[in-house]
Symmetry: C2
Subunit: 215 residues, 2 copies
DNA sequence: GGGTGAACATGAAAAGTTCTCATATACTAG
DNA sequence: CTAGTATATGAGAACTTTTCATGTTCACCC
């Protein structure tokens, strides 16, 4: 009576040294990501240490390297997991609501984004929009592409415009929203309300100008 | 006949372990910052190494620690230098042009920002808006505050609105511009023209809505 | 339930970084 | 010319990242 349907995402290209196949190890990998997220929250990215991660996760350092090629890959995997969770939440919310106006889509997405900032450890420090160094850049581009493409598809069914125009506008909107919400959470741990409101205002204003008011 | 007027900025709080007093050492510190900038461009922040910086700058590692308390402080000093250069350029441009419409102020600022992205090594990777970790956060806030305050003063003489409203709007605009220009330079080394244009459009649109069209 | 090979776990130590410090040299004021 | 401070230096202490040989656990088969 359980939903055995594996929630496995194909995992585009494996940044992992080895894919955990047994359940215990999959769990361990999750623990390592959780530990990383917590530590990033507490100490910041720079102070993150493989030894610390391992200790916090309750595993040996070697176990970490069993799956991740290096420290960066851990953070990268964390951002990937954040992205997956985000997209899953967005999809769920949207299929639930049923698409009406893109206006509402924007609201939903921003709300979910906010929610994750507030509830997912480490999210406000590193999530899919971050570039910590060149190595992560390509991965980041991919992550953002996933979001943007997904949203573009969604909006394309509603707005009568060339898809490339939509993609462009959504790319811009995505970047703006990310920047402003990050600012909001830099100012206040729970997110500065005024800035959050302004973020919604700016994004909607921009999209309205580009998409037109009609749904 | 030379303008001896020292272009020294008071240097708010000293993040340096020791302030270079002799000219040779001041020069060396500059060399270290130059080396850091170049290396960040080439390898990314993560691959930055104190040994590498020293080697590139042609000094001993110890010399670096003579002035900087740790590696982060070097990057921090680099962002501070970038900020100084940026503000200096902005001030020069604006006093030259003479303030007309805030519209033109925005153009000037964005142009200078672009120019620096293209000509100042490392600028597109780390400049005043970046947060690499918690330690740098306060300094970053300061940096942004400097820009925002400075611009606010400037605009306050032109727009008849409560100063706090102006500061808020400028904070938002600053963040948006930064995010979009960073995106532009992530996409193309010389800055994606289309995105740059859109950045100007978004920022101006936002400020027009907040400040009103009138100069 | 015994055997086999792959997946996984582990921690000591190799390799690499950060940062210190005792020592040596350059500069500056008098 | 000289004392006193600023600076330069690089070996090495302290800490991190990553490897790897060794030992366990699991999954599957007979």
């Amino acid at each position: 009576m359980s939903d055995i349907q594996a929630a496995k995402v194909p995992a585009e290209a494996t940044p992992l040294r080895r894919q955990p196949v047994q359940q215990r190890s999959a769990k361990r990998v999750e623990q390592m990501l959780d530990a990383s997220a917590a530590l990033i929250d507490e100490l910041g990215y720079d102070a993150l240490t493989t030894t610390l991660i391992a200790k916090r996760a309750g595993v040996a350092v070697g176990s970490l390297y069993q799956f991740f090629p290096d420290k960066r890959a851990v953070v990268q995997a964390l951002t990937a997991r954040n992205l997956e969770r985000f997209m899953a939440a967005v999809n769920e919310r949207l299929t639930q609501l049923g698409p009406e106006h893109w206006w509402d889509v924007v609201d939903s997405i921003l709300d979910i984004y906010l929610e994750m900032h507030r509830t997912v450890p480490g999210f406000s420090k590193v999530h899919f929009g971050d570039i910590i160094d060149r190595q992560l850049l390509d991965e980041t581009r991919d992550n953002n592409a996933v979001i943007v493409d997904s949203l573009t598809d969604l909006v394309a069914t509603q707005v009568d415009r060339p898809v490339e125009d939509l993609r462009f506008a959504i790319t811009i909107a995505n970047e703006v929203a990310d920047a402003l919400l990050k600012l909001a959470f830099r100012r206040e741990p729970r997110g500065d309300e005024k800035i959050v409101a302004e973020a919604k205002y700016v994004v909607k204003g921009y999209l309205a100008a580009r998409f037109g008011e009609r749904s």
